[in-house]
């Protein structure tokens, strides 16, 4: 029986070589292209997804090692693009080219899941692995703060 992996609450057979990074299983096998290729070496964060809720660089994570685990990609972050971070991203107008933004949002979502009201320093530390060449960092910080405030209201 082949190994399976759960992606955005749906089960898939791992029907590719097990050393294939999760990124390429997502992008080329399942055609979930919201998760991006930027560096291939876990240096830029464009490929960030959640593995059991934890931000993970999918470009260096062999899919075979993730059998039985639950993956969330940008496509599955919320049902109606209504995660507080997605709403804050729109409110602030964060993206320029937008290519790195799925990774930024997934990384920020993982941060807020463990630290609901991060300080500026904590945001910078947590988000340091995600490069944006357009330079949207100021707005990313602003949007994370807005989302954190929104989450605080929900509690």
């Amino acid at each position: 029986m082949s190994k399976t992996i759960t992606i955005n609450n749906k089960s898939y057979d791992i029907d590719v070589p097990e050393d294939m990074p999760l990124l390429w299983f997502l992008r080329d096998r399942l055609e979930f292209t919201g998760t991006k290729f930027g560096c291939g070496k876990a240096l830029c964060g464009a490929c960030t997804v959640h593995v059991d809720g934890q931000a993970t660089r999918s470009c260096v994570m062999p899919v075979g090692a993730l059998a039985g685990r639950s993956i969330t990609t940008i496509e599955g972050l919320s049902d109606n693009a209504d995660h507080p971070l997605q709403k804050a991203w729109l409110e602030v107008g964060v993206p320029q080219c937008g290519y790195c933004q799925a990774g930024q949002i997934m990384n920020a979502a993982s941060l807020l899941a463990t630290n609901a009201s991060p300080s500026e320093k904590e945001i910078e530390t947590a988000m340091q692995g995600n490069i944006c060449r357009c330079g949207t960092y100021q707005r990313i910080k602003q949007a994370i703060n807005i989302a954190a405030d929104e989450l605080a209201k929900e509690v």
Partner: protein, 746 residues
């Protein structure tokens, strides 16, 4: 058909072509060369081009749509589709230009859907997107396009009501009757409007009536971005497609000596190994070996298993450390004269003080987050392309030559670029995908690895410049000698060029400083790699030289930088530069005011200022730094800009924030190093770029202006580095004259 508008557009397009060609340093290109078919190389090509607005009422007999021109498709249900002809790479042009159409058309933005036009310059005008030219050249044509549609809709309603159009007005997707409460929706008017004559000269709205222009309309595509649904060149999937990866010859002009494909072909999923020959035209492939597979990962693994040997060729010993020493020597001795005015020698002879300095900057690679990527499907008599690109026009030209097909047989679907910064103007990666598709007979998606993107790019010129100036008794700058040496972009088109030519060095005689006694010289600087446009292009090193040297002059004269800059501008009596002087001074004053320039700061902090005029926009920046030992932190940046009428304030501010971020990267870290002909850097570990912890608070301030709008993608870049260097000097007494400040050598 409407000769006035057509004439206007022809003239506008010619002006655009000339401007862009000049900006990009292409005027000296031999027109018989390869590029003669491209839109930006020669104004003459526009003769016979059918202009955007002339595809009038293409479906006037089709009652379900109203298409007054190529950009506007109004449907019977009132939904409005607006095409964006220029390429989107994050600068927001696909919101800015359609919002101008919608504003003039009195369209309800919530009913607008924007679509990226496919490559068709006959229909949409030049789509080659660079030189911060889109807004400058397309603002008026977009207004005309929208205004024409509005007037036709108004005329249609007047016809229905049997009254004069003067009794009607359009507002937010409806036409209203002045004398009663009657109104008709745009959707209801589609069929009638489609049969109305196109107005001879539509009247444009007054500035105070603008709904979208000058406001902060949100980007049309951010919703798709936050859901991961925006499709970039790297994301395209077409039936039957295979994936490819490539390794290139690491040296320009080198050739493949041998390749052992055995191990690569054993990788699971790999179907073929294809040798891609160098294509010796500008924007052609460097040459390489590609591996084709049923997924990108296998293709990349296959490339790793290739055993390739290259013959490096004539540039196989290029070493940037050695080369930079040579550039510095070449500017510290007399070089080729470019321009001269006044009497420099007697100004120097009478000088009270002389100041001189040499500034250098290394190569840069663009490093957009999306590496080069496209899908190409080559068939017997036609070809289809889906590419992240800044120039579908150039893709059609290059592929037309490479495949031996008419340009019209090459369909280019223009995908948004995941960052470009000038890199995706050059379509070598698309031509490679075409070569592989042709070889294997299926559509090919070729995505470069980060390493290939870093090692085989088109690099920003490295440069050295020497400035020597005299101050007279009153502390005025009386003479200016400026020598520069850099491999120019012109070498892409003519590799025999040894000196940056006059058009690439004209900044010196045209600079708004307007020094009366002046001489400019160009030093020997042959190219040993591919040189290309990088965001702001040469303005990066011009900004560095002028901005830091002004600070050094101020110190010698015993005044602050702002005083020195104003003194220089005030001494410029050239009437042709009156506007440049006035607008430069105004942005400087605004940046100074907003930053509190001149205020006293705590120990170890500094506030530097610089101004630069480029791409017809004016930007001044005041940079506040705090030293942390030998390192520094940028605390705050105040940027003041004058780009004429602003189209989208939030978008304009975003471009400034981006310029500061990229400015910090290139000031602090970024440098491409060559050894033995090849690039040493490979990925973000050894080509570090700025990360979130380095981001300062950026405050953008606008000069309110009715002047014609100009672009902002690039102009924010030039003043940042000098303002930073001046701030560090004030904070620490350490004067940096070379970029990057903290070279990261591996």
């Amino acid at each position: 058909m409407r000769p006035d508008i057509q004439g206007f557009l022809v003239a506008e397009r010619k002006r655009q072509a000339q401007e862009l060609a000049s900006t990009l340093g292409r005027l000296e290109i031999d027109r018989r060369q390869f590029l003669k078919g491209t839109a930006i190389a020669a104004g003459g090509l526009f003769i016979g081009v059918s202009l955007p607005m002339s595809s009038l009422a293409a479906s006037s007999d089709k009652a379900t749509e109203f298409n007054p021109n190529a950009f506007i498709h109004l449907q019977e249900n009132g939904d409005l589709l607006i095409y964006c002809g220029r390429c989107e790479m994050g600068q927001g042009i696909s919101t800015a230009l359609p919002s101008v159409v919608a504003d003039e058309m009195e369209a309800d933005w919530s009913r607008v859907r924007v679509e990226q036009a496919e490559g068709d310059q006959d229909k949409y005008g030049s789509q080659a997107t660079g030189g911060s030219a889109s807004i400058r050249t397309m603002y008026e044509p977009m207004r005309q396009a929208g205004a024409s549609a509005r007037e036709m809709l108004v005329a249609a309603a007047a016809k229905v009501w049997n009254t004069s159009p003067q009794n009607c007005y359009a507002k937010q997707h409806y036409v209203y009757h002045n004398e009663n409460n009657n109104k008709l929706s745009y959707g209801e008017l589609v069929a009638i409007a489609a049969n109305m004559p196109v107005p001879e000269s539509p009247s444009l709205k007054n500035k105070e009536d603008f709904e979208y222009i000058g406001k902060s309309l949100p980007r049309h595509d951010v919703g798709m971005v936050v859901e991961g649904k925006r499709i970039y060149g790297a994301d395209v999937k077409v039936p039957g497609m295979q994936y490819a990866a490539i390794v290139h010859c690491p040296v320009m002009g080198g050739t493949l000596k041998s390749v052992d494909k055995t191990e690569a072909l054993k990788v699971s999923g790999v179907t073929a190994v294809v040798e891609v020959a160098p294509l010796k035209v500008p924007f052609g492939s460097l040459g390489g070996v590609a591996v084709v597979a049923n997924n990108s990962w296998s293709a990349q693994q296959g490339v790793q298993k290739l055993k390739v040997e290259w013959d490096k060729g004539e540039h196989g010993s290029y070493d940037t450390d050695v080369y930079m020493k040579q550039l510095v020597e070449n500017v510290q001795k007399p070089a080729e004269k470019i321009a001269e005015r006044g009497d420099l020698q007697s100004a120097f002879d009478r000088a009270k003080h002389k100041v001189s300095a040499t500034y250098t900057e290394g190569h840069l690679v663009h490093a957009p987050m999306e590496p080069n990527a496209s899908v190409v499907s080559v068939h017997d008599n036609h070809c289809e392309v889906w590419a992240s690109t800044q120039s579908p026009d150039d893709i059609q030209s290059v592929l037309s030559g490479f495949l031996g097909m008419d340009k019209k047989s090459i369909k280019v679907n223009v995908m948004i670029c995941g960052g470009a910064f000038g890199r995706k103007f050059k379509c070598d990666y698309v031509q490679e995908a075409a070569a592989i598709s042709k070889a294997v007979g299926t559509p090919i998606q070729l995505t470069w690895t980060r390493e290939e993107d870093t090692k085989t790019g088109y690099y920003h010129s490295n440069s050295a410049q020497y400035i020597e100036a005299s101050l007279d008794e009153e502390g005025n700058v009386s003479g200016w000698l400026h020598r520069i040496a850099f491999p120019s972009i012109n070498t892409l088109f003519d590799p025999s060029i040894q000196f940056a030519p006059a058009n690439a060095v004209s900044e010196i005689e045209n600079h708004p400083f307007g020094i009366a006694n002046l001489r400019s010289e160009s030093g020997l600087a042959p190219a040993h790699t591919r040189i290309g446009w990088y965001r702001a292009v040469y303005a990066i090193f011009w900004g560095l030289g002028y901005g830091v040297f002004a600070d050094e002059l101020a110190e010698k004269a015993g005044v602050d930088t702002l005083t020195m800059l104003n003194r220089i501008y005030d001494a410029n009596t050239n009437p042709e530069q009156e506007e440049q002087v006035r607008r430069s001074k105004a942005v400087l004053a605004l940046a100074a005011e907003k930053s509190g320039f001149g205020k006293s700061l705590p120990e170890g902090e500094g506030l530097g200022i610089a101004v630069h005029y480029s791409f017809q926009s004016y930007v001044a920046m005041a940079v506040h730094v705090r030293m942390k030992g030998d390192d520094f932190e940028v605390v705050r940046v105040d940027t003041a800009l004058d780009c004429g009428q602003v189209l989208n304030k939030d978008g304009a501010a975003a471009q400034q924030e981006g310029a500061v971020a990229m400015g910090i990267s290139l000031s602090k870290y970024c440098e491409i190093t060559f050894k033995e002909g090849a690039v040493v850097n490979g990925n973000f570990n050894d080509y570090p770029v700025m990360r979130i912890n380095d981001m300062p608070d950026v405050h953008t301030h606008f000069i309110e202006s009715d002047a014609a709008p100009t672009g902002l993608g690039e102009p924010g870049m030039a003043p940042f580095a000098p303002a930073l260097i001046n701030a560090i000097y004030q904070a620490s007494g350490k004067r940096y004259r070379s970029l990057p400040i903290q070279p990261q050598r591996t």
